[in-house]
């Protein structure tokens, strides 16, 4: 049995037993449990399970993780550093020894080892990778996640279309909405994993709150009628509607509601907790979630910092992939692992690696991805791409195609048509299912 993607393309995804059960429950009962959270049946969750909604989890390794220590090890070379490479579930492909759990799951993942994105300053590089577009003075492009949230949004959902966790502060970037405007801004979780102010103020009943919302909506609609900028007002109305949905589903952000065994699997690190919260949101029907894990900028003591960060990444991502798979969500959830750039082949005097964008790696799993695919190749020292060179636009196009978005689709900025993917972008077909 196949699902249809949002643009009608078959994705050849199996229908999972759990998904069927969820769909049946959604159709027959007022509420059903998702991750032990009671959610009103008219939220996106039910629709998500029934319609084959695609979702995206964007894991942003802020600061620039090292491809040498993770996806493209160069053991025994001067540039390789001290970590060994280990075999994976994909014959012939090795990863760094700090990722033993993901090594066993590489048949679910695809790796691109041949990114050449040229820019080595944090801000501009993050802009490039996040939007899949070089900067243009005349047009601000939205972040890939903003486009994904818009394209994958479920009509009428009262959940946010995009939730972005960025709780560390260094390198924090708020997803740019660009020409799409503020109504497409994600829900930002920057100080806490739980949105603030989603509880009713003391003394305000739910009924009274609803009445106020009806009045606000009425006044707002009257105001918008016949005025230029009505879209802006409707954007506000939509945001207020989502607030109601959010308040009804506030338990989604509470990972304490997960069984202890599940929480232990994800681990007690902040990254683990955020990825668990992300899974709850995705499962409930939020189409786009971003989790930023900082900060990988290892100019000094690169090996010590990767000893610290990579095992946590390995554990959390491998648990997450297994969890998504067991819940029947992996085939409909694209998992992206990206940084703004990689690290230099040269190990500097501080036993660090500096910024490097000429040959680095990223990884994917899930929706639309051919598990076990490895795209591109670098030379023996990891200094240059020797096969399958890809740029930021190619990666963006690959992401869009993986979740079934038509690359030819156009938005408009004023009168200017803007294709979703850059005109010369080439999706990496080799990693697409």
């Amino acid at each position: 049995m196949t699902f249809l993607s949002t643009n009608g393309h078959p994705l050849n995804r199996p229908l999972h037993r759990r998904g069927v059960l969820q769909g049946m429950l959604a159709g027959s009962a007022g509420v059903f449990g998702v991750g032990n959270v009671g959610i009103a049946k008219d939220t996106a969750t039910a629709k998500s399970a029934e319609s084959g909604q695609n979702r995206v989890l964007f894991i942003w390794l802020a600061g620039g993780a090292s491809q040498f220590e993770m996806w493209d090890p160069k053991t025994s070379r001067e540039t390789g550093g001290p970590f060994r490479s280990i075999p994976t579930a994909v014959p012939g492909y090795h990863v760094g020894e700090l990722m033993p759990k993901l090594a066993q799951q590489m048949d679910k993942m695809a790796v691109v080892r041949s990114l050449n994105t040229a820019i080595t300053a944090h801000g501009p590089a993050a802009d490039l990778i996040s939007t899949g577009r070089p900067k243009e003075p005349a047009l601000d492009y939205p972040e890939i996640g903003v486009v994904l949230a818009r394209e994958l949004a479920v009509q009428g959902s009262k959940l946010p279309d995009y939730v972005s966790f960025f709780l560390s502060t260094e390198g924090r970037r708020r997803p740019a909405t660009g020409f799409m405007g503020g109504s497409h801004a994600p829900m930002l979780l920057e100080k806490s994993m739980r949105p603030k102010d989603i509880d009713l103020p003391e003394g305000l009943s739910d009924l009274r709150h609803k009445e106020r919302e009806h009045l606000r909506n009425l006044l707002s609609s009257e105001f918008a009628r016949g005025r230029v900028g009505g879209q802006l007002v409707s954007g506000y109305n939509s945001a207020f509607a989502k607030v109601r949905g959010l308040m009804q589903s506030k338990g989604l952000f509470d990972i304490e509601q997960e069984p202890v065994t599940v929480r232990e699997r994800y681990g007690r690190t902040a990254f683990g907790q955020q990825c668990l919260a992300a899974r709850r949101l995705l499962e409930a029907g939020v189409p786009m979630v971003k989790v930023a894990r900082g900060f990988w900028d290892s100019h000094h003591d690169n090996f010590e910092s990767h000893r610290e960060l990579t095992p946590d990444f390995d554990n959390v991502l491998s648990v997450l992939l297994t969890d998504l798979d067991e819940r029947g969500l992996l085939d409909s959830t694209l998992v992206i692992v990206l940084s703004e750039f990689g690290r230099t082949p040269k190990i500097n005097k501080d036993v660090g690696r500096d910024h490097y964008a000429a040959a680095w790696s990223c990884a994917f799993a899930g929706c639309g991805i051919k598990g076990g695919a490895v795209h591109g190749k670098t030379d023996a020292d990891g200094k240059t791409v020797v096969d399958g060179q890809a740029n930021a636009s190619d990666i963006a196009a690959t992401i869009y195609r993986a979740v079934g978005i038509d690359l030819q689709k156009e938005y408009h900025s004023g009168l200017r048509p803007v294709p979703i993917a850059k005109e010369d972008a080439k999706p990496l077909d080799g990693i697409l299912a």
Binding site: D297, S298, D312, D350
Partner: protein, 339 residues
């Protein structure tokens, strides 16, 4: 009276280049030969009697970075990130003993004053005691936490032997020192020096630092602990270089030597005859070789080495200082005066 090494006149006399980083250094005083090893897995030697000393690659017995080295009775004993200790006959370059020593990177190695035993530390967070001649494991000391308080990987960077050979000190990433009774294997004490470990829970959500070097004073009363102080930006060694002096038997810190030079101190040693500390390392402010009066907070003198230093040692009469680090070997002299 002969001044051993006048730090204010310290001068870089010779450099011998080696690719990458040398992490380890030892000296065969009888032959006047330095041995160093590091990131290219090989052991290099420098004949200091040569007119123009150069670094010569001698052997490659390990399969990863060489992090520690000791010279004992004609053998160069090396510890590596490949988890092995290897005894190599200096004359031939042939391995004599190969021992799978730790379940993790070996970080440091120290020979006892009588040369009969060795202590090693590794990322299995264990201290191991070895027969320096046969390579036989004599004892294992287990007392360091296996993870950081935040649940991440930690490391056991440093080991030192007391001058009387009765105690071993081991220092880890999170600022804990364990003191071990050699004969009984008992934990004799613990020191906590948390300033050496900076965990940033908010800005970058990771850590830096650790106790990188330990040294007992010649009178065995004081333990010097070296590393980096509180770091403002855990992306790098962006904190003050720091040494703490502890009365290790009472467990009290007696002095703090800290300088604004932003660096991690990879090595600390007491001068053998003078009440003076020598430290070396590198970081955001560049490499550092500094000399401290142990009673004063500020250094007597800071020299600017070529590249960051990982290890150093003084020759027998204290006239020269040998260093190893980024780019190879360095030989430092001073215009010592005799009265």
């Amino acid at each position: 009276m002969k001044t051993a090494f006048d730090p204010t006149k310290a001068k870089l006399a010779t450099t011998c280049e080696v690719p990458g980083i040398l992490y380890a250094l030892c000296y065969d005083a009888e032959q006047g030969t330095l041995y160093g090893a590091g990131s290219d897995w090989s052991v290099y030697c420098v004949d200091l009697n040569a007119e123009k000393p150069v670094a010569e690659k001698k052997w490659t017995n390990h399969k990863n970075y060489v992090s520690a080295v000791a010279f004992v009775d004609g053998n160069v004993i090396t510890g590596s990130y490949d988890q092995q200790l290897i005894w190599t006959k200096a004359e031939t370059g042939k391995p004599v003993h190969v021992v799978d020593a730790h379940d993790g990177w070996i970080r440091d190695l120290a020979a006892f004053p009588d040369g009969k035993r060795l202590a090693s530390v590794g990322d299995d967070m264990l201290v191991k005691l070895w027969n320096a001649e046969t390579g036989q494991l004599l004892n294992t000391f287990d007392g360091h936490a296996k993870q950081t308080p935040q649940g991440y990987a930690t490391a056991l960077y440093a080991v030192a032997i007391a001058p009387d050979g009765k105690h071993i000190a081991s220092g880890d990433r999170i600022g804990n020192v364990c003191l071990w009774e050699v004969e009984t294997g008992k934990l004799a004490g613990k020191l906590h020096a948390p300033t050496f470990y900076t965990y940033d829970p908010r800005t970058r959500v990771r850590s830096i630092g650790g106790i990188r070097s330990l040294c007992f004073s010649p009178d065995n009363k004081t333990l010097a602990i070296a590393g980096i102080g509180k770091v403002t930006n855990v992306d790098g060694f962006v904190g003050p270089c720091r040494v703490e002096l502890w009365d290790w038997q009472s467990g009290k810190r007696t002095a703090t030597c800290q300088d604004k030079h932003k660096a991690v101190l990879n090595h600390v040693a007491f001068h053998p005859t003078e009440d003076r500390l020598i430290v070396a390392g590198g970081g955001d402010s560049g490499g550092i070789l500094a000399f401290w009066d142990a009673k004063k907070e500020q250094p007597i003198h800071k020299a600017k080495p070529k590249g960051h230093i990982q290890r150093f040692l003084l020759d027998g009469n204290g006239q020269r200082l040998f260093a190893a680090g980024y780019g190879g070997f360095q030989v430092w002299t001073s215009d010592a005066t005799s009265n």
